[in-house]
C-alpha cells in the first residue's frame, strides 16, 4: 500500500432506518437521514474544504470553511453542522462561496508561519491543502499585524511536540481528548484572539498534565501544531502497512507508516473494528524497543549458565540445541521435555511451538503464559457456557446500560477499550466497580461509578454470591430466560444455595468488608438497569478461586438474562495481545487447538494423521508443575518462546530453582531477559513489526500481523521454531504463516473458515468461523449455548490459605500501569519510562503513618516467600490494610514476594493476595543486590567467537 492518509468524511457515520435523497452540485445523493451535508458530499465524491471537521469527532462548525448554499435557506450554512433533508438542493461551489472561503483562509494565513517547505507537516497538512483548494494567492492583511508567532514549542512529551504558533485553534485536539479518549486533559485557555490550546493548568506542560499520551490529539491535528517527533526527525512516510498491535488484548490495528525500512510512526487505523481509530501510549508510540541496543540478533549458546555467552551461527546454535534435546530424550524420555508458548507471538508461532512439543519432543508438556493470567477464564466459561471465550465484541459496550467492572482496571491495562466504555458512560450508562482499589473509572471527568464495592482482596466469590442472593431473593432473576436457555434444575439448586441467609450481603459483610446496602443497590442495578454487561480482568482470575469467580460471574449473567445480544455478556479483558489466540491454539497441556481434550481419541487421531506421528494421550505438565518436576529431576529441558517466567511467575526463588535444575533451557526472545540468566541457548526473536501472522484479541477477533521490515536477526519467530524442528528431523516446510493458518483451520472446527486470503479481504474475523457461523460471531449464544443448556455451577466461597497475621498484617495486590506493559521488556526500553521509571508501593496514609513512611521513602516489602524493597506512594486509593504495586521492573521483582498459592482448578497463581509486612528500608534489599550481580555475570557475552 502506498502512503496516503485515510479518507476523512468530515463527520461521523450516521445509522438510520430512513434514507434521504438530495442533490449536491447537480448529482443525486442518497444517505441515511441525519447525515451531514458535508459527509453526503464527501461520500459521493465531492469533498468540501474544511479544517475543524474530522469524522472521528462530532461536528463543531468553527472553521467556517465548509460553507455551502442551500436552496430555500438563508445565508451560507456550514455543511458539517447542517443535516441533509429530502429533496434539498445544495451547491458547494459558487462565486460567493469561493470568496467567503478565500476570505476565511486569508485570515488564517495572516497568523501562520510561512515556511511550509521546512515544516514537518509539509505536504501532509490540511491547512496547506485547503489553502491550495481555495486558491489563496494574496494575504492582503500583510504580516505586520497581531499574531501568535514566535512562541516556544512544548517539547515535554517524549513522543510529540506542541508548537502553539502553528495552531489554528480548531479544537480538534481538545475534542479528541474529550470525545475519543475521554481524559479531558486539554482545553482552550483564554478567549477570542488569545484562545490557546492548554494542557491542564496554566503552569502545566503536556507531560505534567493529565494527558495520557494516547496520541488522539496528534492524529486529529490538521497542521503540525501537534506532531510526532519521529516525523520531524525522519520526514513524511512513503508507505503504510496495516498491522495489529502487540501490546494488550484489545488488539488495535495500526497503519505502520514507513520510509524504507524506517518506521516513521504508528497511526491507529480508522477501519480497525477493535479500536475504531483510537490508540494508547503503548501501541501508538512505544515501539522504539524494536531498535533498542539491548536487542540480541545473533544466536548464543553456553555449556553451563556460569559461563559467558558465545555468539554462534544459527546452524551451530540449532545443532547444539537439537543435540541436547535428543540426548535428554534418550536418557530421560519425552516427558522430560517441554515448552512454553507466548501470548505475545502470533497464532501461527504459538501453534508451531505446541506442535514442536507434542509432535517433536513427544510430550504434552506445553503451557502458555495464560496459565498465570486467564486460564480460569478458559475453565470457567467452558464449564458454564461451553466456550472458553468472552461473549461479546467491543462495540457491544455501546449498547450497555449497566456496566459492571470487576477486578479490572481498563484505563490502565486496556486503555483503548476503556475510552469506548467511558464514551458510553458519558452517554448515561451506569457503572458498578468491584475492586479493592479506587481505580480511575470510579471517578474521573464526566464518569462516576454508581457503586464502588471496595472488597477485601480474595473475597470475589463471596461478593458475587451475595449479589446473586439479592437478585434471587428479591425476585429480580429473569426466570423466563433461565427456563428457556439454561438447565432449570441446576438453576434451582444454585438459587437455593445463594438464597441461604449465610450468603446475604449483611452476613458476608464481615468477610467482604463491603457495606451490605451498597452491595444490594449494586445487585439491583445490575439486574434491573437494562442491558447489563460484565467486564473482568486478572483481579478475578489470579486468585485461589479464580475459576469459581469466573463461574460466579457467568451464573449472574445467566440468572439475569444478560447473555446473547449486544450490550450484555461476560467479557474477559485479556492481558496480552494474543492470550485468546495462544489458548485457542492448543497451548495448554491437556488440550489441542479449539479446546479439545488430548484424551479425546477422534481429535487426537485427526492430528496424528495430519502430523504423521503418534501423540501422548495423557495431559502434560503445567508451568508450576514443570518447575516442581525439574526440582525433582524428572523434567530436564524447556523451550520458552517470548516469555520471561522468572520475572512474571510467582515465587521467583522457586522459578529460579526449577530453571537452575534443568539441563537445557532455550530462551527465544528479543532480549536477554531474566529467565535467560538460567538459559543455555538464546535464540534471537523478531518483533511484531518483523513478521507475518495473526493475533486474536479479547473479542475473539483474528487480525493479521504484517511484516513491515525485515527481521533484525534474519528470521521470523515461526521460522526459528521450524528450524529447530528440522534440526530435530521433523522436516517441516512452511514458507508462509498462511500455510500454518491453513493447517490450524483444517484441524480446528471453530477456525474452519479462517484463511490468510480471507483476512486480507475482510481485515478481521471473529471465531467461530465455520459452516454454522460463516461470517463469524460478534456476539455469542444468540440462539443458545454451545453446550446446549447454560450450566449453573454452585460456587462456594473458600477463603484463601494466604492469611494475614501479626507478622504479615497487610494484603498486597498487584497490577499494571498505563505506560508500562507486563514485565516491561518492551516498554522499559522506550521513552515510556518518563511516566513510570520504577515500581512503587501504594499504601494508605494510616498504614504509612503507623510505619513512619512518607511519600517517596524506601520500604521493605516482605512476605512468607521473600522480600524486596521499593519506594512508597501514600494514597487513599487503596483501603487501609491493602497495599498495591506493579511488576514491570526486574529491579523490584515484585514476584519475589508472591506465593505458590494458585487457583484450585487451573493453578493460575494467586498474585492478587499476598500477606505482607511493610517496614522502612534504606534502599534495595540484599537479594536485589545479589540478583543484580547474578544478572551482570549471566549476561556476559564472550568478546570473540571461541572458534
Amino acid at each position: 500500500m502506498g502512503y496516503e492518509p485515510q479518507a476523512d468524511f468530515g463527520t461521523p457515520e450516521v445509522r438510520a432506518d430512513t434514507q434521504v435523497t438530495l442533490t449536491i452540485d447537480g448529482r443525486s445523493v442518497t444517505v441515511p437521514a441525519g447525515t451531514s451535508v458535508m459527509r453526503a458530499a464527501t461520500t459521493s465524491g465531492g469533498a468540501i474544504p474544511s479544517l475543524c471537521a474530522t469524522d472521528s469527532l462530532a461536528a463543531f462548525g468553527s472553521c467556517r470553511m465548509c460553507l455551502v448554499e442551500v436552496e430555500g435557506m438563508r445565508g451560507t450554512p456550514a455543511s458539517c453542522t447542517t443535516p441533509v433533508a429530502q429533496d434539498m438542493i445544495v451547491r458547494t461551489q459558487t462565486p460567493r462561496l469561493e470568496k467567503l472561503r478565500r476570505g476565511v483562509m486569508e485570515l488564517y494565513i495572516s497568523d501562520h508561519p510561512l515556511d511550509c517547505l521546512t515544516c514537518s507537516a509539509n505536504n501532509d497538512c490540511e491547512l496547506q491543502d485547503t489553502a491550495a483548494e481555495v486558491g489563496l494567492r494574496d494575504v492582503r492583511y500583510g504580516y505586520a499585524g497581531a499574531h501568535h508567532l514566535g512562541q516556544q514549542p512544548d517539547l515535554s512529551n517524549p513522543y510529540f511536540l506542541f508548537a502553539p504558533d502553528k495552531c489554528i485553534v480548531c479544537s480538534r485536539c481538545v475534542r479528541a481528548c474529550d470525545e475519543v479518549q475521554g481524559t479531558l486533559a486539554l482545553s482552550v485557555e483564554g478567549r477570542g484572539f488569545a484562545s490557546k490550546i492548554s494542557a491542564g493548568q496554566r503552569a502545566d506542560d503536556f507531560l505534567s498534565s493529565d494527558c495520557v499520551s494516547c496520541g488522539a490529539c496528534v492524529q486529529a491535528c490538521p497542521t503540525s501544531a501537534l506532531m510526532e517527533k519521529s516525523v520531524k526527525e525522519h520526514g513524511k512516510p512513503e508507505r503504510a502497512v496495516i498491522t495489529t498491535c502487540a501490546y494488550c488484548g484489545v488488539g488495535c490495528t495500526f497503519r505502520a507508516e514507513m520510509r524504507g525500512e524506517q518506521l516513521v510512526r504508528m497511526v491507529p487505523w480508522k477501519d480497525g473494528k477493535a479500536n475504531r481509530g483510537h490508540s494508547c501510549v503503548k501501541g501508538r508510540f512505544a515501539w522504539g524497543y524494536a531498535h533498542h541496543q539491548d536487542r540480541i540478533t545473533t544466536p548464543m549458546i553456553r555449556e553451563s549458565v556460569d559461563q559467558p555467552w558465545r555468539e554462534v551461527s544459527w546452524d551451530e546454535a540449532l545443532a547444539f540445541t537439537a543435540g541436547r534435546i535428543s540426548a535428554i530424550k534418550a536418557q530421560h524420555g519425552a516427558r522430560a521435555l517441554g515448552g512454553i508458548t507466548s501470548s505475545r507471538c502470533t497464532n501461527e508461532e504459538t501453534f508451531l511451538v505446541q506442535k514442536l512439543v507434542r509432535a517433536g519432543f513427544g510430550s504434552n508438556n506445553v503451557d502458555t503464559c495464560a496459565r498465570v493470567c486467564h486460564s480460569p477464564t478458559g475453565y470457567g466459561l467452558k464449564t458454564t457456557f461451553g466456550t472458553s471465550a468472552g461473549t461479546q465484541d467491543f462495540d457491544s459496550v455501546m449498547d450497555a446500560d449497566v456496566i459492571l467492572v470487576i477486578g479490572a482496571n481498563p484505563t490502565d491495562a486496556h486503555p483503548v477499550f476503556a475510552s469506548r466504555m467511558k464514551r458510553r458512560l458519558r452517554q448515561g450508562a451506569q457503572l458498578i466497580v468491584i475492586d479493592p482499589r479506587r481505580i480511575d473509572l470510579v471517578r474521573s471527568p464526566h464518569v462516576q461509578a454508581a457503586h464502588h464495592l471496595p472488597l477485601q482482596p480474595g473475597t470475589n466469590v463471596a461478593v458475587l454470591t451475595a449479589m446473586a442472593h439479592v437478585i434471587v431473593t428479591e425476585g429480580l432473576a429473569d426466570e423466563d430466560f433461565v427456563r428457556d436457555r439454561c438447565d432449570w434444575d441446576e438453576y434451582q439448586d444454585w438459587a437455593r444455595f445463594v438464597s441461604d441467609p449465610q450468603h446475604s450481603p449483611e452476613f458476608l459483610e464481615a468477610v467482604t468488608k463491603v457495606p451490605a446496602a451498597e452491595l444490594r443497590a449494586a445487585a439491583r442495578l445490575y439486574a434491573t438497569g437494562g442491558n447489563g454487561a460484565i467486564y473482568y480482568g486478572l483481579g478475578v482470575t489470579e486468585h485461589s478461586q479464580g475459576s469459581s469467580t469466573v463461574m460466579a460471574i457467568a451464573n449472574l449473567a445467566m440468572a439475569t438474562g444478560n447473555i446473547g445480544r449486544p450490550g450484555v455478556g461476560v467479557n474477559p479483558l485479556r492481558g496480552q495481545n494474543n492470550v485468546q489466540g495462544a489458548c485457542d491454539m492448543g497451548s495448554f497441556p491437556h488440550e489441542l487447538s479449539g479446546y479439545r481434550h488430548i484424551s479425546d481419541g477422534a481429535t487426537r487421531t485427526m492430528f496424528e494423521q495430519d502430523w504423521g506421528v503418534a501423540l501422548d494421550p495423557e495431559p502434560g505438565l503445567r508451568i508450576p508443575n514443570m518447575l516442581d518436576a525439574a526440582v525433582d529431576g524428572t523434567f530436564k529441558a524447556i523451550y520458552i518462546q517470548g516469555e520471561d517466567i522468572l520475572q512474571s511467575d510467582p515465587n521467583t526463588h522457586h522459578v529460579a530453582a526449577g530453571l537452575a535444575a534443568m539441563d537445557c533451557v532455550i530462551v527465544h526472545d528479543l532480549f536477554l531477559n531474566e529467565t535467560a540468566n538460567y538459559a543455555h541457548v538464546f535464540l534471537p526473536g523478531s518483533t511484531f513489526l518483523e513478521k507475518n501472522g495473526t493475533f486474536t484479541n479479547a473479542e475473539r477477533r483474528i487480525q493479521p500481523v504484517r511484516k513491515v521490515m525485515e527481521p533484525a536477526n534474519g528470521l521470523e519467530d515461526w521460522q526459528v521454531t521450524q528450524a529447530l524442528a528440522n534440526a530435530l528431523g521433523l522436516g517441516w516446510a512452511y514458507t508462509h504463516p498462511a500455510q500454518i493458518l491453513d493447517e490450524i483451520a483444517r484441524l480446528t472446527p471453530t477456525f474452519a473458515g479462517v484463511s490468510w486470503d480471507r483476512l486480507e479481504r475482510e481485515a478481521s474475523l471473529q471465531w467461530p468461523v465455520n459452516d454454522q457461523f460463516p461470517d463469524g460471531a460478534p456476539v455469542m449464544y444468540v440462539d443458545g449455548f454451545v453446550r446446549g443448556k447454560g450450566h449453573f455451577v454452585v460456587t462456594d466461597y473458600v477463603p484463601t490459605d494466604e492469611k494475614t497475621g501479626p507478622r504479615y498484617p497487610l494484603l498486597l495486590t498487584t497490577g499494571r500501569i498505563l505506560s508500562q506493559y507486563n514485565v516491561g521488556a518492551q516498554t522499559r526500553r522506550t521513552a515510556n519510562t518518563a511516566w513510570h521509571p520504577e515500581d512503587v508501593l501504594e499504601i494508605h496514609p494510616l498504614d504509612a503513618e503507623n510505619r513512619g513512611l512518607k511519600e517517596g521513602d524506601w520500604a521493605r516489602l516482605a512476605s512468607r516467600t521473600g522480600e524486596t524493597s521499593l519506594r512508597v506512594s501514600v494514597t487513599d486509593r487503596v483501603a487501609p490494610g491493602v497495599v498495591y504495586t506493579t511488576f514491570h521492573h526486574p529491579e523490584t521483582q515484585a514476584n519475589v514476594v508472591t506465593t505458590d498459592y494458585s487457583d484450585w482448578a487451573t493453578n493460575c497463581p494467586e498474585y492478587k493476595v499476598t500477606a505482607v509486612q511493610v517496614t522502612p528500608s534504606n534502599g534495595p534489599s540484599d537479594w536485589q543486590e545479589d540478583y543484580a550481580g547474578l544478572t551482570a555475570r549471566s549476561r556476559r557475552i564472550a568478546a570473540e567467537p571461541a572458534e
Partner: protein
C-alpha cells in the same frame, strides 16, 4: 509448601474443597475427574504412591477411585 508430594496433596485437597459444596459423592467423582483431566501422569502416580495422610476425605476418596480405575 515444601516438596512436590506436599504440593500435590495440597492441590488435591484444594480441588476437593471447591467441589465439596456439591455433596460428598459428587465431589469425589468430580475431584477424580479433574485430576484425570488436568494432571500429568507422573503427578497422578506420585500421589497414588505417596503418603495420603494429609488428604481430606473427599480427596482421599477421589484418589482411591483413581487407584481403582486409573
Amino acid at each position: 509448601m515444601s516438596g512436590t508430594q506436599d504440593r500435590l496433596v495440597y492441590m488435591a485437597n484444594q480441588i476437593a474443597r471447591n467441589f465439596a459444596v456439591q455433596g460428598e459423592a459428587v465431589a469425589i467423582a468430580a475431584t477424580a475427574r479433574h485430576i484425570l483431566d488436568f494432571w500429568d501422569p507422573r503427578m497422578r502416580e506420585a500421589i497414588l504412591a505417596g503418603d495420603r495422610a494429609g488428604l481430606s476425605d473427599i480427596a482421599a476418596g477421589a484418589i482411591a477411585r483413581l487407584q481403582a480405575s486409573p
